[in-house]
Amino acid sequence: MTRRPTAFDLTADEVSHVRPGEAPPADAAVIVEEAVEADDLPAPLPPVRRRFSWSRLLFGAVAGILSLAIGLWLDQLVRELFSRDDWLGWLAVGLIALAVIAVVAIAAREIAGLIWLRRIDRMRRRADLAAVRDDRPEAEAVVDELIKLYADRPDLAPGRRATQARVDDIIDGRDRLVLAEADLLAPLDAAARRLVSDAAARVSVVTAVSPRAAIDVIFVVVATLGLIRRLAALYGGRPGFVGLARLTRLVLTHLAVTGSIAVGDGLAQQLIGHGLAAKLSARLGEGVINGLLTARVGVAAIDVCRPLPFLERRRPQISEIMAGIRAPRAK
């Protein structure tokens, strides 16, 4: 059956006009129910960095040399009668040169990663000191360095602009750091918390369902390393292999040092929760414990990677992160 085009006069008696949130009357013959305007703003995405990859160039070049060798071998095999040509040699030399360049570039990146780690460490200590002493020039220097550190980040452009707009204002040392923290680091903190939550959730689930202990161990190690690396990338670092190893050591040291503090951090409740879970199923309990461990490593990694100490903003709590696992995430 076809539906004819129809107009409904909103002021007519038999028509009742229902705005969003109102309950439609029961007796009206025609009900015009206004639609709720959906806010289709998607959640901000973590930055996707598409960079030119030197390691890919290395593998490409090496593969090129290998294929050259194979080609040469084929060439010899197929056309043994022909004398070898010069240009192949030059090509190989060129490719080797590329490989050398790539090796140098990777080494440079490793060094850059290590320099970044030291720089972050120094910045944090300076900021800490400046905040305690309320030292204005020092705080300004730290904020400048922070802006420089994130100059490459388009996703932080609004925060950078807001921070720069305040350069001429009269603001005390600690307050300036607090403002910079709110403008520049708040979005990163939110993303970092989500990263840790996700990793903890993955580890918990995999531990709970994996058939063999060896698998969980490998998975926990891989997930934890991946988490540390991603957190470092989020806060602006690009640790290479050596950098990551060093970073991991720092994180573990930090975890050991701050381990005793964590008792107050809702860990007792979490452990009791683990006891309950373990009563239900041993594997479930293990999953919860592994997830907790990952979350704690994540929090420690945030501490190590963050260029400022937590001043006004709260450090993510283990309980919050574990709650974040259960909360529905906006995709």
Binding site: R3, T6, A7, V30
Partner: protein, 487 residues
């Protein structure tokens, strides 16, 4: 390419090289807003500027979402001899008087400079973080002239007369056709006779374009919107009933008309094409599908033909950096069904399907030559809200708004003040059903009726700041058209 001469090509290439040299420092992008009259070009351009300059809500426009869009500004335009697009006047009309802008009577131009933060390292360190967007607004009727470039007077005459003899047009074409058949093309050249013929012909074109017929295929376009050329010889010609073969004798009416037709192409059409259309980077083709649906099957088929002929004049293709220097090509084309707010969003997919069917030849051509093509239903300014109407146990997807003064539905004339909920009818699942004669039991075009609504009242926040104009999918359109250049 048959509709441009060799010297045209050379001039286009020269202009391109000059542009390229200029734009090394400041990249510019030419956006061609094409659409027949009343397709919504002026409103589209106005809404685009308004949303970019007022920081409108454009969540699906990636630079806006990432916070990389810093702002936009209207800057001095490219050609100093062309009037500037009256952006402020149009916005005032839309927001204060709440009426749509009048149909465009003359060409105008605009340059919008968009400031952004590049997402790439190279872009940030080397680029200047600004993009110049050049847009041209013009009467849509003028577009109908582009296909004339590849036709001679004989072809133009026979095609125009043939179209005039179609049964649906007989009522409006009778006077003109009767007069034309009484004129001997081989007779002496007579200015007065030519003027009389032109008058009748122009009256017929106007009647075909306006009124309930809503036909699209009514060239030459300047006859409908002459601009400052009204009354000049180049605009005073008409088709004649020519003999099957032979050349025009000297000093005959035929020769006079033919020379004026050629002058029209040389003086009017070609410069317009060369300065404004031969060198576009991106193109958005606005189509008012709903008006054609109101007009019935003939209007729809006519629209299809007009779009096919016009779009054949553009140059789509993948652009390379080297090609960019000599020949600019349109590497992205968006086909947009405008006024999508006059329809519930549940029907937008079907609207897009109809548009796809309407332009399938142009889409195939553009895709084949390597250009990216997208089809969207959009509303540059959203005039309605949505609602569901429950009546006798059935629920109808409706839109809420104030119909324009003079709109008619079921013998009710609207005064431009009352707000109604409108159910405009169901678009068919299969767009093909609209293009062929209806089968028994199938709903025809009378099962559809789209009213035109007045522009929305502009919302004002508690602080008294007026918000930007609401829209539907303008952000997606922008992302497709210019998003990659703001990367």
């Amino acid at each position: 390419m048959s509709f441009t001469t060799f010297s045209d090509e050379a001039r286009i290439a020269l202009d391109n090289m000059a542009d390229f040299a200029w734009s090394l420092g400041s990249p510019s992008l030419r956006l061609g807003v094409t659409g027949l009259s009343r397709a919504g070009k002026t409103v589209f351009i106005t809404a685009l500027i308004h949303n970019l300059t007022h920081g409108g809500r454009l969540p699906m426009f990636e630079p806006w979402r990432a916070g990389r869009l810093l702002g936009a500004d209207i800057r001095p335009q490219l050609h100093p001899d062309v009037p500037t697009f009256d952006y402020r006047g149009h916005v005032r009309k839309l927001t204060d008087a709440r009426v749509w802008p009048d149909s465009t009577r003359q060409i105008s131009e605009l340059r919008l400079t968009i400031a952004y933060e590049s997402a790439t390292f190279l872009g940030r360190s080397l680029g200047r973080g600004k993009l110049d967007l050049d847009i041209v607004d013009y009467p849509g009727e003028w577009l109908l002239d582009l296909p004339l470039l590849s036709k001679d007077y004989r072809a133009f005459s026979s095609e125009t007369l043939e179209r005039g003899r179609e049964p649906r047009r007989t009522a409006i074409a009778a006077d003109w056709l009767a007069h034309t058949s009484g004129v001997d093309p081989l007779g002496p050249a007579d200015d007065e006779a030519a003027g009389r013929l032109h008058e009748l012909f122009a009256a017929y074109l106007g009647a075909a374009r306006g009124g309930s017929l809503a036909l699209s295929m009514v060239p030459p376009g300047r006859f409908l919107m002459p601009g400052d050329l009204a009354g000049s010889p180049a605009l005073t010609f008409a088709p004649l009933d020519l003999p099957e073969s032979g050349e025009a004798p000297r000093d005959s009416l035929w020769a006079l008309m033919e020379s004026r037709f050629e002058a029209y192409k040389d003086v009017v059409v070609r410069p317009f094409f060369r300065t404004h259309f031969a060198r576009l980077d991106r193109q958005v083709v606005l189509v008012d599908v709903l008006a054609a649906l109101n007009g019935g099957r003939e209007a729809l088929v006519d629209l299809e033909m007009a779009l096919g002929e016009i779009l054949g004049c553009f140059r789509p293709g993948r652009s390379s950096w080297l090609g960019q220097v000599l020949t600019r090509r349109i590497d992205r084309i968006l086909f947009a069904a405008t006024k999508a707010d006059h329809l519930h969003h549940a029907s937008h997919d079907r609207l897009e399907l109809i548009l796809r069917r309407l332009t399938d030849r142009a889409i195939a051509r553009a895709s084949f030559s390597g250009a990216e093509v997208d089809v969207k239903a959009l509303a540059a300014v959203r005039a309605t809200r949505e609602a569901t109407v429950r009546r006798n146990g059935e629920s109808l997807p409706c839109i809420l708004g104030v119909p324009q003064e003079g709109e008619l539905l079921d013998d009710h004339l609207y005064d431009g003040k009352e707000e109604i909920a409108l159910f405009p009818g169901d678009l068919p699942d299969n767009p093909q059903a609209l293009f062929r004669p209806p089968e028994a039991g199938e709903p025809g075009f009378d099962a559809l009726r789209f009213l035109r609504f007045r522009p929305p009242p502009l919302e004002v926040t508690a602080e008294g700041v007026s918000l930007s104009l609401p829209h539907i999918r303008l952000d997606r359109a922008l992302d497709f058209l210019i998003g990659d250049r703001l990367a």
